[in-house]
Symmetry: C2
Amino acid sequence: MQRHADFAEFTEVTPTAQIAQSRHGWRAKCLQRLIRMELPVPRTVALPFEVVRAIAAGQMPDIEGLAAVFGEDFVVSIRSSAEKPEWGGPGTILNVGMNDRVHARLIGTHGQEAADALYLNFVQTYATQVARLDPDMFHDEPGPGALKAALATYRAETDDDFPQSATRQLIEVLRSMARGWEGTTARLLRQAKGAPAEAALGLVVQRMALGIGPGLSGSGTMQFVDSVTGLPQITGRFRGQSQGRREEVGALYLTRDPRGASLEEADPDLFAQLCDFGARCRVRLREEMQIEFTIESGQLAVIDAVKVQRSARAAVRIAVALAEDGIIGREDALLRIEPRALTELLHYQVDPRGARDPLGKGIAASPGAATGRIVFTSAEAQASAARDEACILVRRETVPEDVRGMHAAVAVLTERGGMTSHAAVIARGLGLPCIVGCADLSINTRERTLRAPDGRVFRAGDTITVDGTNGEVLAGVADMMEPALDGEFRTLLHWADTVRDIGVRANADTPDDARTARMFEAEGIGLARTEHMFFDEDRLTVMREMIFADTAPDRRAALDRLLPMQRADFIRLFEIMAGQPVCIRLFDPPLHEFLPHDRDGMRELAEALDRPLSEVTRRCDALSEFNPMLGMRGVRLGVTVPEIYDMQARAIFEAAIEASRHGAPVVPEVMIPLVSAAREVEIVKTRIDAVASAVKTEMKADLTYRLGVMVETPRAALRAGEIAPHVEFLSFGTNDLTQMTYGLSRDDAGRFMSIYVSQGVYEEDPFHRLDVEGVGELLLMGAKRGREARPGLRISVCGEHGGNPESIAFCRAAGFDYVSCSPFRVPVARLAAAHFALLAPRGERAGEGVQKS
Amino acid sequence: MQRHADFAEFTEVTPTAQIAQSRHGWRAKCLQRLIRMELPVPRTVALPFEVVRAIAAGQMPDIEGLAAVFGEDFVVSIRSSAEKPEWGGPGTILNVGMNDRVHARLIGTHGQEAADALYLNFVQTYATQVARLDPDMFHDEPGPGALKAALATYRAETDDDFPQSATRQLIEVLRSMARGWEGTTARLLRQAKGAPAEAALGLVVQRMALGIGPGLSGSGTMQFVDSVTGLPQITGRFRGQSQGRREEVGALYLTRDPRGASLEEADPDLFAQLCDFGARCRVRLREEMQIEFTIESGQLAVIDAVKVQRSARAAVRIAVALAEDGIIGREDALLRIEPRALTELLHYQVDPRGARDPLGKGIAASPGAATGRIVFTSAEAQASAARDEACILVRRETVPEDVRGMHAAVAVLTERGGMTSHAAVIARGLGLPCIVGCADLSINTRERTLRAPDGRVFRAGDTITVDGTNGEVLAGVADMMEPALDGEFRTLLHWADTVRDIGVRANADTPDDARTARMFEAEGIGLARTEHMFFDEDRLTVMREMIFADTAPDRRAALDRLLPMQRADFIRLFEIMAGQPVCIRLFDPPLHEFLPHDRDGMRELAEALDRPLSEVTRRCDALSEFNPMLGMRGVRLGVTVPEIYDMQARAIFEAAIEASRHGAPVVPEVMIPLVSAAREVEIVKTRIDAVASAVKTEMKADLTYRLGVMVETPRAALRAGEIAPHVEFLSFGTNDLTQMTYGLSRDDAGRFMSIYVSQGVYEEDPFHRLDVEGVGELLLMGAKRGREARPGLRISVCGEHGGNPESIAFCRAAGFDYVSCSPFRVPVARLAAAHFALLAPRGERAGEGVQKS
């Protein structure tokens, strides 16, 4: 190997050595810190990245020099040390240096059995991982003759004796580990964890502390918090060995335990020393660490220390505790929690420690888990809910009429659909566990059965569990873990709120939604859809009367009956939100969504309306559309059937005045959907302003309200400059905007989306992650033009993307005022927004990376 | 009136007088030209715009001076003279100056009857048009006592005698005409003809040449071309009067006629003089003029001359003849023809001179007229066509499966739909006369009857005529005028071709379309849709087999059977187009369009495929979509079911090589539809290139082809910079792009489009006229980004808008290479393009009027 004057080929890790995480990797640096804390770490040498890279390329450093550090007949371990622990690396190889001579020496010091076991272990490891021989030939358990057999097999397979030179072993192991890092699989795996293409490997060579010998010996790990709960608790394992024979001492509990002997009792001083190490690590390394140690005849050695594995819940508790103990700052605590990880805290989860009886697997469409009885229709779901019986709605796929059934169910399971199917989207909005596209299970709606691939048949009323977090359907009841809305979680989010610089509201249609939004401390409602309010049975009938009315006065008569119900809806929303802003979207869906689709339904409707079936059929027919998404809905209804918006505006304003009388003053926001031309806004605005004036006079009350536009068509974004002067806010409905920008129906995309994403046609489902390049450009154009035309215009996003961290980064960079998302995503959004505020300096906010023209 | 030193209040029209069309109006200028040509024009005075404006404001010029021009006891006419003849103006008032004294004098010179008639005529005109009295009181026919009665009525109504002062009459008539010009209705009418808001009126006062007297006397008009055909022919009228008694001489034919006496025979010299006047006018005024004249005892006076009224056909003949005679330039000839007017030349028209028996009126969706027997289904239409019987397809509305029936019919009539309904769009494409939204007629498909509002019932097989030009449905056979594809028409378009600077291609799917495109001299096919090719019965079955195939090899097997048919289709197209470019769009519609929609169809399909009905129903069901427009179609099929495009590419390339062997070399253009991401293009391009290589090798032939993208989604326009490097052309499909930019389905927009346009929400149906502000901006962005990424990229528009003059102006301004439109619109597009090239200097081409940001 070419000698470099400017860097050491290897460096012994001492308190003062030049060890850098960016050059020697995280493990080398961590070991140096332990050494600086005067923990009993065995002699350790670090190989920097460039040397390991050279080794992989076929060169070899000064091995004699390296070996000389450890002296005659050394036995060492070699561990990987990438720059970040999560990037992985080749597995540790122990006992390098074992050969016949060392073996003979160990027989003398530790006995035949221990020496054999150590040598056999190394031969097996070396044969399979370094010499790449077939592992099947080297799986013998330790025992008489096993070592001999392994050495013989090695000789037979390689036509060579097992290498006796410790430096030769060192060379081969180093080369093998260095090359393992370059393998394709390893590269893909670490890149998936965020490693850059040029990520390098360091290696750490450490004298083996064997942990065998007379007296208290063995090896173990110890940590000081629970990995699942994050609460302080000593956990870990210790396996004692005497002369290599485990069974003589066996496993000890770490702490005093009625069930058996413990390390704490066996050597209280040593145990106290370990606890002291843990406490010092926590402060000095600013992290909860798991310590790996050995004991050789009562002598403690700390081999390694790694960050404690932790659930999301534990992560939050650990970070908050560290910050509250003054060990780390609050900002650091915030940045240590991955926002998406919070999702699992907001739902019941199947306890991973419990038994599982899986029936099939589908797409995990909405996280959380729930157990309930199977129902196959929305009506059954509602009946079940009325009996206070938890039920799971099982459908081939869901349609808008199923929303009531979904409200009544504790989980949803469908045979068809993808991440963006109706069931998936609504369930995420409701925070219901949901599995879609579960093609494993065959649903027979007529026979009301659910058949598993193993032949088991489940009927309506049978109990199953839906695990929406991992997509598994389980038979019967499963053990659950409760959602953790605990104090630390709230504390962390309050810290987030003090840091973030973009608002977070919730999309909420119902009082339940609104209460959830309040629970998760959303700053108001960014999108209250009003159409769900018309699906209740008593309202649906009136709604249909309205649709079938032949004249404006008849329509108004029907709407007059809906008015008090709508007003009551809004009063409830306003009361729950207690003065926080509530942005109400005016009626949006095409009218035919409220009509029956089958013959039976039409017959019922004909009876209810006392009209001939033929007329009902004809009218339903006439209202049906080829492309409902692009049809007669939203503001198009507002312009052509203005009575609906008149009624809604009146209900909103009367409710606002009413709620203000008994509680905090309400400033309702009214949002017009599906706008494509400024004139639509003018027309609707004129009528709404007139309704407001009338209500103010009638109720002798003052009223402030804000009018805005939901930007869902590309044209509304392009013409935002014309629209803005009429309104006080624009809110981008990125769901529909994505559909129209791509020419892609969310309901129909499921058929090819997975192929598209897997072939890289779309980097990601654009309904799942905001398409920054296409849709994003329209957002930026719309916001820019809108604000140029009306300085101070409030801009937001209220599509599904609103809760997505990448979208939040985008909206913040573009200077939007707030995002609005499903209530269950509010905590994620609050934390993500805080992250971006901490990570991206203010000056850099300007829609980076987006093509401008 | 305030006196102005710098302009004359009135000017006698003499050869040297300062008369300007921009100050005195077209008529004053025209009369001056006649005077300069030494035609016998009676003494004439012109009042300029500013004076007429002052009169309307209540001031009055030097009336005494004006009257003095005409001497004692004058009788004059007063005519309007706006800047352009088409802006109209108040009607002419004759015989101003008539009073008791003149009346008495005329009795002496021309007899009682003539004098009474003249006086009565003036009293009636003055009373109704100047004094604004009730016309009902002044409608008496001339006869004994009528004059006296009129004068008495005048006195009774006004409490005043009929004004005897000629100057007073002059003042009142001038004021009345000046104020008439300012009226709201008049202003709206002229603004509809393109007059600016400040358009002014001039007036012309002319000594009356009464055209009565002893010897040959009377009045008439004469023109030298036929108004309908434009061919040279003397037409007009002459009504002789002797002493005011018409019946004594009566009407004369102008030219020698076996049916009776003629002016030519009565006074050959005078007739020759008139012919000479006509010929001189044509040369000097550079226009075919109609001359208005009187004869008083053999003495000719030319009162006025106006442009000959003309049909579009006549207009073309006249302009070409003037240019060919060297009287005007070719450019002038081109500019004299309004491009849209050509439409009526390209279709049969109901002869306006024939009898009409109207049944009902709908929307004139596609021009032209046709007579045929009623059929109610596509199958009947095809059967009828097979018998060579003209038929008219009558449907409540049409669906894609009806296209074959529409091909077989001579016209289409639907009860529902608007200008952009399926029937309307397809019919325009096919050049079929079409009426949609004919709600007057009640169609009963089951009973196969058509009921008119007057109660008449028509059955399948009955004959009707569809007049798609004016939207009328007529009973029985109507007299027709043939389309005029005559020499002058061709000549004019060839002149247009030498002038225009943007290409014009045709959208053509079938050999018939292609032949029409050739006939209208399109420069190639800009959009050949391939899906219609699969609706023929034998192909449909194979197509369905392909759709139902479970594996790629099965799909390929079905497609292999379609390959020779497709190849034959393309060979025919290439042969007809004889080396001109043909741009073939790969398969676009969702597959479910090829499946039956009703139970009977499914049963048949199950039989044909030998599969259980339940399976067929399930598969059809599974393929159906919520929003087909935004679903699994276009390139999405190309990526996920690549075998279809493979087959089509092979058919195109094999056909191109085959056609090149026997005719002009073919360079096919292959266009990928519904692209939303560059990667789609990469994937399809890779496969198409591979097919091309294979075909070249197999056929041992060379092959050049161009690959392009149809830009139909907003995202494709936004990301054109990424897409362009992979392709040689981008063609904007403005139909779909409009749908997606507005979030508006063309099929569903009919329900509210008329309300939207009438309320001014949309200025015009955006499917009818390109939305320059929204969709247009995407076109400009796409073109700019595409060309920046790939200089020389060919850009075009191939949506319905392509044939629209405003769209052509837009595309030309944006520097597009060509537009492609329905074959029947090609002539309009060629002429419109020439107009823009002549009118808009090259430097001004840059998408004027479009918001940039």
